[in-house]
Subunit: 142 residues, 2 copies
Amino acid sequence: MTDCIFCKIINREIPSYKVYEDDNVYAFLDITQVTKGHTLLVPKEHVTDIFDYDPALAGEVFARVPKVARALEQAFPEMQGLNIINNNKELAYQSVFHSHIHLIPRYGKSDDFSIHFGNNQEAYSSEEMQAIAEKIAKQVEQ
Amino acid sequence: MTDCIFCKIINREIPSYKVYEDDNVYAFLDITQVTKGHTLLVPKEHVTDIFDYDPALAGEVFARVPKVARALEQAFPEMQGLNIINNNKELAYQSVFHSHIHLIPRYGKSDDFSIHFGNNQEAYSSEEMQAIAEKIAKQVEQ
């Protein structure tokens, strides 16, 4: 896609710090290192977000996640955890509209990264939970 | 695994609000609904975290993510975004040690969920970035 910064990175029109590449995926350091080794894994094909994926390609791309995760663990033995994040659409903090998976190594409580899950507990009754689950289940089977 | 709450859910020893199931994966509502439709996708086999995955199984499990994502979008047309999160190890906010992928639908800025990426910009020189990338690349090829 002409104006896509990640397509330009994949096509070497823009330099990047490459971590891994194969026929379907490209992995490189996020230019903003949330923590040391913060890596982005992207499909080479321009896919906007999770809703835009062909399931087979999604499988190919996501199947590379443990490979890169293990490489991070080997490269940085001081790593104590890993957050894997894929944000979809602007409201959910997606800023580049070429689907990408963040791998964010964690080294200690002193880093500045956090996920706040909110405080929405017990917002739904068991009947409501059942209705929500059935609504999704009905769609997932189609 | 005897003491694993997600294994018990998969084995029907503990009830859950099921969203999807096939030979390899089970998807159900997180009992703590960060937002409406907050779903957990887990491998049926007990896998502790991303480092513990057989790559083929990881591909199978992660390949289901777009399927569930699209179902959420169909079930809740008011959805405006989706955060997909997989936390690994306690420091990175993993609380149940059976690998799980959160799918958190987003409906508006008013919900209480957030990701704080921190402010670590420009912490590394280009030479340091190159060294970090090479360190990971060396491991990922092995």
